[in-house]
Symmetry: C2
Subunit: 206 residues, 2 copies
Amino acid sequence: MITSIVPDHQEADSRRRIMDVAAELFLERGVDGGSLRQIAELAGMKAGSIYYHFASKNDLLVAIFERGIAVMVDAFDEATATGAELSAHQRLAAHVRAHLGALYENGPYTAAHVTAFRTAPPAVREAVVPSRDRYEAMWTTLIAELVAADALDAEATDGVHRLLLFGAMNTSVEWFDLERGTLDALARAITQQFWSGLALNPQEAA
Amino acid sequence: MITSIVPDHQEADSRRRIMDVAAELFLERGVDGGSLRQIAELAGMKAGSIYYHFASKNDLLVAIFERGIAVMVDAFDEATATGAELSAHQRLAAHVRAHLGALYENGPYTAAHVTAFRTAPPAVREAVVPSRDRYEAMWTTLIAELVAADALDAEATDGVHRLLLFGAMNTSVEWFDLERGTLDALARAITQQFWSGLALNPQEAA
DNA sequence: GTCTATACCACGATAGAC
DNA sequence: GTCTATCGTGGTATAGAC
């Protein structure tokens, strides 16, 4: 095992370890349910030491939520970045899959953000709102493009259907288990429900 | 104004008032964010007095969640009870509207259950699981009937699509505002998305 | 049925040694 | 960078007067 030559990475490592265990705890027990004492214990230190890395619990929350949003944004960008020519349906499917990947395949940050945000202190919520809005705008743009390409009903542009899609994707953290199903299958189910619904004879919808 | 003849309803009234303000508080701030001191103040009494009506905060939580589930169950039953002959699409629409009614038109109980359940203590969650399961079973049966009537894709019977529908309906408490939109319109949007999707040319879905 | 008073504990946060 | 020790606050819950 080779020891790094640069001075020492303890600070960055510890900061990250705190965030990792804290995000997991907030995801499971909520903002108020996860205490700094528990976080410290899981991170292998004492509660007071956390304050070397974060000025307050609120600061730690903001850092975690911002990271959760950054993970979503990165996933969105990567889904777009495939050089291939994609159909409208394929584009939507790729972004749904990417969002689910952010929720389940890149640490607990996005899932913690989605579940714990609503009970965070107002100051924390306000701090991350701009980043949240930026991610939502990416989806608004995507859906507008699909509508403009004559792929989707213009009704989708009013935002409600985007929010319903978010609801379906995000609430999956309450019941989806990676060990009992694949993300690809879940993404297909969500995309299908959004795209063409489940009716055998859709025209029945008077 | 006539005063009741029976001894006095103070106990039942106070108990209900505590539950009302507590449900609202749990809905807004989460289980740990709503303290018995705040609840007592909103209910017009002191914290210690709550213990005359509930043995513990957990007991209060269970009572609130159970009531939230009962409100959903009642709404479901009433949606079914219309004597009229309904098409499959109309039946689904009626039940979606009823579920939204439980979330928004019958007090904060169902909304509190939907948002605060996940961070409640394990003992509380376990206590209400049977009631939750009973409500979910009602939906499972409904969807199975729609599938059997050749109205829905058999895929809907695996449960995933029911959970996605729940996610779309329940997450609306995060963004839907009764003063800026009607429940009827929201119910139509959700039903349409579930039933026939948003694609103009669904067959594109390869 | 509600009050006052209080026990006991866990919380977030700070100060200063090492 | 982490520790120990501690402060002040606010949490749930209980006892007993009224």
